[in-house]
Symmetry: C2
Subunit: 478 residues, 2 copies
């Protein structure tokens, strides 16, 4: 039984031993060197590299084995090759080092006899010794508040998003990429083959974790799917649970067996799972980052009715089609609203329907302010999508773009929109380097200001749809 | 009746008059100045700006009206505001200037009485005068071989892709973006409201155009959908027809009426259209560019069986799921192939199934060569997807990446693969600027070499799927 207090201790360790720390560790760019990564991230607790052939590693006194440590530690991380893991794990048990992360691969996921046997062996040792084990075959922990990261490329800043991953690669990719979109984490836990600690145990922990407001997961399989369903149903009401469930096809399920050795479960179970729990579904690293961005930066919308403000006729048609596909409603602009908007927007070349196709508004923050104020007050509009076709924002020139529209959208737009969720689609097709550069800079400015910004039209529509679906679900469930 | 010879003359004009050329035209960045765009692109024929208030525009002698021209021209382009168009069109008819492009908007697409009346008026003039009209409400022509472009940001290089667009904005976006992926055009024709020349007329012309190997379209509606279906069925057998059909939903159809004023047609008609014709379906500017890239750079595959070579367990599962969704088969690697591959790829950490998960191969062009040689010879593999996780290609460092893997993939990979279609998914999540830069540079190198390269995993899979579906369809149809 995994207790809250043992997890608490494990996730905020005051001391760590790394079995198999490399003698030749350097602080340079060796991304696969776990001990060096912990040192480089600036871990402040006591750190014990274990390697019988070294005296000192990266300035830390090295020990020959777990049994030679002066004291027990809050977390032992094993990085030795699979055949060496059972004996070290036994030493953990006998020395009372109950919290272990096994980084090493080469167990159940190989599908080969030796790996299966080794997994069984460590499972027995863990059970008998009452060990709490994260892994094997995992990257482990990235917990900024604890000053701990087992991999590189992540931020020291804490945030409110937790991520549970059966895949180490996905955890690395997601955490590196998310940070560039100003998504910060409370805890990232890569738990691989889930020997004793499973997704459901971690989910239970996170449901009571005050630092976590959003729970994201990369899931291949789970031991007790019924329990996961019940728990997700419960937690999702207060903390949105966003899940990439991989392995929805025969080929995907086959690929899972050689990745984490999990039982993927039938596709129809997972379809029902998402329907019943109301958990939010995502499909890839990029998609998970984008939908998390939308949740992190939006207040709950009242419904699924979207106003689209942009420029370009084809864009309007394509956007409307995409909304239909994703289940978003594009309500007709009432004649009352139309009248208000017409007093702001001149008729020539500007079409006031929904989508609103008004290039002039795109080239004037003051016009845009007036339009947003009108839309923000209409109670039949729940959310807004702003389509900025940067190539057509001639009036600014590339340099002016950030100052004018960047400034307006970062500081004021949300307020004028009455805090309704909104997203920006930032599109540019011109080859000119200055336009590309302007577009990238504007993207950065908006991201820093917490505006969900995207580089195409499908992603924001799909993310807004999932945001409104989630809130619609929990409104009914409450 | 639109004849081939009149279209031929119109699309390769030796003389052009631009009615409404601006007095203050400059060669600078005024993207909306059509006359200046033609001059800037370097049109070599005779050019007559028409503006009663100017003597010379950009070095060209200006004329007060069509009637004052010394000779008839191959193409008249009208850029005046809508109410002025009928009288100029009448002048075209009386002076025997039969080929006209009407750039101006403000006709049927406004949905308002005046616009509808104006459209009816010009329709009658065109009919009576037997005029061939492109537009109104369109950007017109970009035909590099004729030295003619009505908009900026496009290449002087000719290619084998034709593009027909009911939307001027889509034509601009698509042509600007495509050029950056080394997609070059035979002809781009933006034809807006389709007064006399419709998509089907242009399609007929392109079916016999030796410069065109691929036909792409952005379509909102068509006058004679039955004729379009018959023609597309016929042409698609020899020249792939790739179509973005916008307006598949009620909201989309409403948006169309205010864009080109077309009748969108019922969604079920268009579903049947794609099923019966075998035409390839695309969904947005970006999607059309990517699928065109795949067609332009690939030989016909023998089937839909894909081998995936990459690194990362989660990636393998997600890729397999995506293939399943798109109808691609991921055949099991036979024990014979497995044996051959095992002699090249060491066992530890490398999984030889399909997807093949072998980070070591990603870090060695010579290993990759050997692997591709094996896969290229297996007749149960029709196509290959290469997943390069740039963040994990530690061995090269960012600088080495282009020289080693870039060189190998650009020059040799296709040959080793026995000319089977292949695509590269180039993924990078690290925040480091040097990795981002390396990734962008590698992308450019591969694009220049004609390798279809993508920045995520869903796009190449979706494009390979459409490539194989197309060839499967025409194999059966022939």
């Amino acid at each position: 039984m995994i207790t809250k207090s043992s997890l608490e201790r494990m996730l905020h360790p005051k001391s760590i031993a790394v079995v198999g720390a490399r003698r030749d560790s350097t602080n340079s760019e060796a991304w696969m060197d776990l001990f060096a990564s912990i040192v480089q991230f600036g871990y402040k607790g006591r750190l014990y590299p274990i390697n019988p052939k070294a005296d000192v590693i990266l300035g830390y006194k090295a020990y020959p084995s777990i049994t030679s440590l002066p004291t027990s530690v809050d977390l032992v991380i094993i990085t030795l090759s699979a055949p060496h893991v059972p004996s070290v794990l036994s030493e953990c048990a006998t020395t009372g080092n109950r919290n272990v992360q096994i980084f090493s691969a080469g167990f159940k996921e190989t599908g080969e006899e030796e790996g299966l046997k080794l997994q069984q062996e460590i499972e027995e040792i863990a059970k008998k010794g009452e060990l709490s084990v994260i892994g094997p075959n995992c990257m482990g922990l990235y917990i900024p508040k604890a000053g701990l990261s087992c991999w590189r490329g992540v931020s020291e800043k804490s945030g409110s998003v937790a991520f549970l991953s059966q895949s180490g690669g996905f955890a690395e990719d997601f955490s590196s990429y998310a940070v560039q979109l100003n998504i910060c984490f409370s805890k990232v836990i890569s738990y691989g083959n889930a020997l004793t600690i499973d997704g459901t145990d971690l989910l239970t922990y996170l449901s009571e974790d005050d630092d976590t407001r959003f729970i994201t997961m990369y899931l291949e399989g789970v031991r007790n799917s019924r329990r996961l369903l019940e728990m997700t149903s419960k937690i999702n009401i207060t903390k949105p649970v966003i899940i990439v469930k991989a392995g929805q096809s025969d080929s995907g399920i086959k690929a899972i067996s050689s990745h984490t050795g999990s039982l993927a479960g039938a596709a129809h179970f997972w379809d029902a799972f998402f329907r019943q729990t109301g958990a939010v579904r995502a499909y890839s690293v990029e998609d998970l980052v984008h939908v998390t961005l939308m949740f992190q930066n939006s207040k709950p919308p009242n419904g699924n009715r979207l106003a689209i403000l942009g420029a370009g006729g084809a864009f309007s048609v394509i956007a409307a089609d995409a909304c239909n596909k994703e289940g978003l409603e594009i309500p007709a602009i009432t004649s009352d609203t139309q009248k208000k908007l017409r007093s702001i927007i001149p008729a020539a070349g500007n079409i006031i329907r929904n989508p609103i196709d008004a290039n002039l508004v795109m080239n004037s923050p003051s016009l845009m302010q007036s339009v947003l104020e009108v839309l923000g007050k209409e109670n039949y509009i729940d959310m807004l999508l702003l389509n900025l076709h940067v190539d057509w924002m001639y009036d600014y020139g590339p340099e002016g773009l950030i100052e004018t529209m960047g400034g307006f959208l970062s500081n004021d737009a949300r307020r004028y929109m009455n805090d309704k969720p909104f997203a920006v689609a930032l599109r540019s097709y011109r080859a000119d380097q200055e336009f590309k550069h302007a577009c990238n800079s504007l993207e950065k400015v908006l991201r820093s200001a917490g505006v969900p910004v995207f580089r195409n039209i499908e992603q924001p529509i799909s993310c807004l749809a999932r945001l409104s679906q989630y809130h619609n679900f929990i409104r009914k469930a409450r």
